[in-house]
Symmetry: C2
DNA sequence: TTTAAATACACCCAAATTGGGTGAGATTCG
DNA sequence: CGAATCTCACCCAATTTGGGTGTATTTAAA
């Protein structure tokens, strides 16, 4: 008696490990209101069918044969932007987390979680949240914070900040109500401290070390 | 018999509403392992004492008489970086969230939560997490994602991306294995599409509209 | 299949920007 | 006090930038 399919949360899985995938299918289908509509072991097959499957939530692995999960997220978001994608992976690599989020993931779980967390996460993302493992959340929040051991003075940081927004020396001078020559001095000192010789290098190093 | 003070989580409150503040004190002190070491109704007093209080966790309001919470977080992090600061506020404003995180907040809760969530949040941040209300987490994750309705082509986006990293036309040309003149053409088209006439304007608009 | 968009390249020109050098007065903070 | 920071000045040459106009090939949509 499934006379309320409209309220079902339709779930799609992309996971190459058969044991894990089948485990997830069983776990999720046990839950009231969940329906696993499809399960793939690679991105290519998933992408072919996502428009027909019309999932509300996709649980996606990153390490996959063929196309990787990041690429998969990007493409899926293009052809069916409606789906909320949660990454489920063993990788806790910083880079991968941010790449996944930039690609369009709405959540990120590491596989060392109690399986019940998966169920919560799906409810969470459907009610406007962004489920993340604790360590992932910390990574994400930390990405907003600046390096406390910056070699740059606060004025220099201010100048570099504006430089990184594409402003010219004159622009910066106007913005800070100082002379263009003073800006030049600050920039010379910034270059000396960061051991670089150009705008691009300075910005690159500053971004990398979270000075701005 | 408190012969294990070292394992106690020391909590400090900064909240100007007396009712709420006293409520939090009682709620938290009821919990095993929690100890509210101090409670202030403004940032100034908090900052004077934070070094003596040595809190593990600070629950901080944003809207405060005198110095606001953002400024308070920044200063507290400078004089006592060890403390984990969780913002507890009614404001859900995008800007405020990111300012708080940039200033050094390690968590962000909105006041429309069950009070038990506060207890969980403190345990969460002490075990390496970053507690956030569902809607805040969504905001944070969404901040990594790009605008899907960009007027720019993918190549143009690529060029603007590199431009925003301070690269010169020649740098960009090298990086993309195309001629400098081609880069110039792309940039002219970018300026036309974004209705701007300079690098700085283009980057500003692109950032604002999340095109890069 | 015709059209429009995207991608790539070329040459002209003048103004602005950038990076490097050197020096120097004022202020602030430990 | 002294080191660091912040401010401004002048010299110089190479590079960059923004605007103009024109062309050709490829790709995607109508």
């Amino acid at each position: 008696m499934s006379y309320q399919n409209t309220n079902l949360i339709k779930i799609c899985l992309v996971e190459d490990d058969n044991i894990i995938r089948e485990g997830f299918v069983m776990l999720l289908n046990e839950n009231q209101g969940f329906k696993v509509v499809s399960a793939y072991n690679n991105c290519e097959d998933f992408l072919k069918n996502v428009q027909n499957d019309k999932p509300n939530v996709v649980l996606m692995d990153i390490e996959l044969p063929g196309m990787n999960g990041i690429e998969g997220i990007e493409r899926a978001k293009k052809i069916y932007p409606h789906a909320q994608i949660i990454v489920v992976t063993v990788y806790e690599n910083d880079d991968l987390v941010f790449k996944a989020l930039c690609a369009g993931a709405g959540g990120y779980l590491t596989k060392n979680m109690p399986s019940q967390r998966l169920v919560e996460a799906i409810r969470e993302i459907m009610s406007g949240g962004a489920p993340m493992s604790t360590n992932i959340a910390r990574l994400v929040v930390a990405s907003f914070q600046k390096n406390h051991n910056s070699p740059l003075s606060s004025r220099e940081t201010e100048v570099l900040e504006l430089l990184s927004r594409g402003k010219s020396y004159s622009n910066i001078a106007e913005g800070l109500f100082i002379d263009k020559e003073t800006v030049r001095t600050h920039i010379k000192n910034i270059y000396w401290k960061l051991e670089v010789h150009s705008k691009a290098e300075a910005i690159e190093k500053a971004m990398k070390e979270k000075l701005i």
